[in-house]
């Protein structure tokens, strides 16, 4: 029993599956970060919704700013990370940076949409309209469209060899655009309407309101890092699944070819001698999956 495939199967069944082999994307680091984020968010919500007083001019609608402003910050941070990671992809040419760029872009879509939605829900009672063409809102709306285009390109290029490079170029090209968009919408608005509308109008922010805002900002950024970590791992796993499926297919094909040769050489030997060890091997992987802790 020295044929190649049986030898491999023997080696595989002898390898002990480590006790903490992870299923899913949890890890000690991500769990700690997740708990921190949840705690910060909980306290932040308590402050935003209950402890901080309603604004003198905006009444409770001002509470929407405790989500609107942090999500805007996260959206722009996510954008910056995607742009930076795209540059790194072209410079270092590693898969890691491509995965970071993609993960950050997806998260950016979530938070940019949230920023626009809360902005609209805030604008309706305060300004009377859901939307106004001020520089900040317009740039954020365009940012969303740029993100969506980038993610659409990633999906369309899925599985192609040069995806990382092309998406990186697309990311950088879109990133160049953002300062130009910002400048041009600024000029455009000042031409027609005057300065960008200040979110807080006449009120001064202070005390518990400022604290709520800061808390939610920190919670938002911690949440972003956690999401980035998890989404990065998901992207990494997706790449490994593709690779592994490919390797499996090749190994299987070789096994078939070898067993065909053996049947041709020894017509009386049962062709599927190596099947029990293969079954044991997949069984071991399956038990490993179900027995380890879930995050």
């Amino acid at each position: 029993m020295t044929s190649i495939d049986t030898g491999l199967a023997q080696v595989r069944t002898e390898v002990e599956v480590p006790r903490d082999a992870p299923v899913g994307t949890g890890s000690r680091a991500s769990r700690i970060l997740g708990v921190v984020t949840l705690v910060l968010t909980a306290v932040g919500l308590a402050y935003s919704l209950i402890i901080s007083p309603p604004d003198a001019n905006q009444s409770n609608a001002g509470r929407l700013l405790y989500i609107h402003v942090p999500s805007a910050i996260v959206a722009y941070v996510a954008f910056g990370v995607t742009a930076l990671a795209s540059v790194m992809v072209l410079w270092r040419k590693t898969e890691v940076w491509d995965l970071i760029a993609g993960a950050s872009a997806e998260i950016g879509i979530v938070f940019t949409s949230l920023c626009l939605i809360t902005g609209m829900l805030w604008g309706r009672p305060i300004w009377g309209v859901y939307w106004t063409w001020d520089a900040r809102l317009t740039t954020t709306a365009l940012l969303l469209v740029l993100f969506v285009g980038y993610v659409a390109l990633r999906r369309a290029l899925a599985g192609t060899a040069n995806r990382a490079k092309w998406c990186a170029i697309a990311g950088i090209v879109a990133a160049i655009d953002v300062p130009i968009v910002h400048e041009s919408t600024n000029w455009w608005v000042t031409l027609h309407q005057g300065q960008t509308v200040r979110l807080l109008g006449e009120s001064e922010i202070g005390g518990s309101m400022l604290f709520s805002l800061l808390l939610m900002m920190v919670a938002g950024l911690c949440g972003y890092v956690w999401l980035l970590l998890v989404r990065f791992r998901v992207g990494y796993l997706a790449e490994r699944v593709d690779e592994y499926a490919f390797d499996e297919a090749i190994a299987q094909r070789r096994a078939e070819a070898a067993s065909q040769q053996r049947t041709a050489a020894h017509p009386d030997t049962p062709a599927h001698r190596d099947t029990p060890s293969d079954r044991a091997d997949t069984h071991r992987i399956a038990t490993a999956s179900t027995s380890t802790e879930v995050d």
């Binding site: 992870p22 929407l64 999500s71 979530v110 809360t118 998901v234 490994r240 592994y244």
Partner: protein, 58 residues
């Protein structure tokens, strides 16, 4: 009239807008919660298809 009275008067006349606030916070919970559930579930599904030594980058 002193400042407090005016402020109180304004507060009495301005609606509380809780509907908008709760819609906004609810949308945030749904969007973020939904996204988290989606990627965690996807992560578990994918990691079952990969042998244990290849699951993590570090």
């Amino acid at each position: 009239m002193d400042l407090t009275t005016i402020q109180l008067a304004v507060q009495r006349q301005t609606p509380s807008y809780w509907g908008y606030v709760l819609t906004g916070y609810g949308a945030a919970a749904v969007a973020i919660g939904g996204y988290v559930a989606h990627i965690v579930r996807r992560g578990r599904k994918l990691s079952r298809q990969v042998p244990t030594d290849k699951r993590r980058w570090l």
